[in-house]
């Protein structure tokens, strides 16, 4: 068991290094032009058609949230799914569809989509001095939210039908989807929950671990699909990973037993002068309580975003070279597509690994919180 774990950890490390190295290079390739953002908002749309291709903008646009779901652009027509915008500003609620912005062209009730660095892509309102202000609260049902609900319904549909299959075919061998998912469920149960939390207490945490695992997995996989309704960078969105990590943090904190808190406040086996008069160890331990979920959040976000950035970087190369000369574009396309396929395959691996790592670490934290004194 532990040897397999070591191998996986080593693999994750290698994958992580590869991702970092590649993402650094693609960031350099994709440095956004400074002057790009200083263009006037009104003429932005027209300008961009004649503007040279900007890989940085394209990539950031693809991996961040948006108020509409852009599917395809044919000529000058943008095919998008408009989504509802909900704002709370100056004590008033505003509801409207994102189509009123005409793909970032127009203003509506003083609100517009910012093109400036800080708030780029977000709804802003201009104050009297011309500064852009974010509305007080922005509850908009964005692209990522739609993707989350989409994956939520898929998961509910899949697992309710699998649960039915288990009830209907009780005691029989699994079949179809059930037999595809069963080894994964058993893997999460035996190698993650049981191994990390322990035989006695694991069952309480199993539903959460399974849900987190499959939620991350399906969103990782859907994120690799390049067209509607996939391709949304859900698990590479820091808000999403933050919520997932917050769930882990809350469950860990609430299931912490006496032993867990004693380890934080008064860690046994540590010299007394590290605790009194300066409570160095308690402060370090308390920081650890918060850094653990923080690391969970950042790891998942960074891994998945980096994967998306690399793939988009390879695709951007085609257009960058295409602008130099059409032939070069086609030439690079061959290499780019080959690399993209390679990265896609790697991303499928990463999708599983990251779902596994997030779930395993969550389970380890639960195990730490519930461990009895020995």
């Amino acid at each position: 068991m532990s040897s397999i774990l070591h191998k996986i950890v080593a693999l994750v490390r290698i994958a992580f290094i590869v991702v970092i190295v590649l993402s650094c290079t693609s960031f350099i390739l994709a440095q956004p032009d400074e002057h790009e953002f200083k263009k006037d908002g009104e003429s932005w749309q027209e300008e961009i058609q004649q503007e040279e291709f900007n890989a940085g903008d394209m990539i950031i646009e693809h991996i961040t949230d948006a108020y509409e779901w852009h599917i395809i652009t044919i000529g000058h027509t943008h095919v998008t799914v408009p989504l509802p915008v909900m704002l709370y500003d100056d004590g008033k609620f505003h509801f409207f569809m994102s189509s009123v912005f005409n793909h970032g062209h127009d203003d509506y009730k003083g609100y517009s989509i910012s093109h400036h660095e800080m708030n780029a892509g977000k709804i802003v309102r201009k104050d009297n001095d011309g500064n852009e202000l974010r509305p007080d609260l922005d509850f908009s049902f964005t692209k990522t939210v739609l993707a989350i609900f989409f994956s939520m319904f898929i998961l509910i549909f899949i697992f309710i039908s699998v649960a039915k299959a288990y009830k209907k075919r009780e005691g029989k061998a699994p079949k179809g989807l059930q037999s595809f998912l069963e080894p994964i469920i058993i893997f999460v149960r035996d190698d993650i929950a049981k191994a990390s939390i322990g035989e006695k207490r694991y069952e309480k945490y199993l539903p959460f671990l399974l849900t987190v695992f499959f939620f991350i997995l399906i969103n990782n996989l859907l994120g690799i699909v390049p067209f509607f309704p996939g391709g949304v960078n859900v698990t590479g969105n820091i808000g999403v990973t933050g919520v997932l990590a917050a769930f882990t943090f809350i469950i860990t904190t609430f299931s912490g037993n006496k032993n867990y808190w004693k380890h934080i406040v008064n860690a046994p086996g540590v010299p007394w002068w590290l605790k009194i008069p300066v409570p160095l160890m308690p402060v370090v331990e308390l920081m650890g309580v918060f850094t653990k979920p923080f690391v969970l959040m950042v790891r998942l976000f960074a891994n998945i975003s980096a994967g998306h950035i690399i793939i988009l970087g390879f695709i951007s190369l085609i257009f960058i070279f295409g602008e130099i000369s059409t032939g070069a574009g086609y030439g690079v396309a061959v290499i780019s597509v080959a690399f993209t396929i390679f990265m896609d395959v790697l991303e499928i691996l990463v999708a599983f690994i990251q779902a596994y790592v997030f779930t395993l670490l969550s389970a380890l934290y639960f195990g730490m919180a519930t461990e009895e004194a020995h």
């Binding site: 950031i60 660095e117 989350i148 649960a163 009830k167 849900t211 820091i238």
Partner: protein, 164 residues
């Protein structure tokens, strides 16, 4: 940068969606799946255990069977041996009886032959005696046809006989 700046609305929606997902799956999907898995594993384990038990019992029965077969073989051997002994005895008895019968028959036969022989001997003696007397009479008659000879013979006989 918008990449590392979580949207407030998104966090709210995400919490809601993930909360719903967790609730629905934890209520309607996972318990059913986990309990069925557990039950199936238990039933498989039970089945394996009972198979093992059955195997052991079979082993035991096989041992018992072998014992039985051996016993049966022993018994058969015994029976055969006894039967053989009995047969031998029967044959011997019969032989003895037959011998005795045959002996007595032979004895009887010999006895009757003996008595027959004696009777025959007596008869032969009688016949021989009669024949001898007849022959002697005929010879004497022939011998003593003329007077001289008769006289000579009487004289001889008289001379042989001493008159005391």
């Amino acid at each position: 940068m918008s990449l590392i700046n979580p949207g407030f609305g998104l966090v709210i929606w995400m919490t809601l969606a993930f909360g719903i997902l967790l609730y629905v799956l934890a209520k309607y999907a996972w318990p059913a799946i986990i309990s069925s898995l557990k039950e199936r594993e238990k039933s498989i384990e039970d089945a394996l255990l009972s198979a093992e038990k059955a195997r052991e019992e079979m082993e035991k029965m096989k041992l018992g069977n072998e014992e039985l077969i051996r016993e049966a073989q022993d018994e058969r051997d015994n029976i055969l041996k006894e039967a053989r002994a009995l047969k031998e005895k029967f044959i011997n008895d019969a032989k003895e009886k037959a011998q005795v019968t045959a002996d007595s028959i032979v004895e009887n036969a010999r006895e009757s032959i003996e008595s027959e022989k004696k009777a025959a001997m007596v008869e032969i003696k009688n016949i021989i005696t009669t024949y001898s007397i007849d022959i002697a009479e005929k010879i004497l008659r022939e011998e003593l046809k003329d007077k001289k000879k008769q006289k000579a013979y009487v004289e001889k006989l008289l001379s042989e006989t001493s008159l005391n």
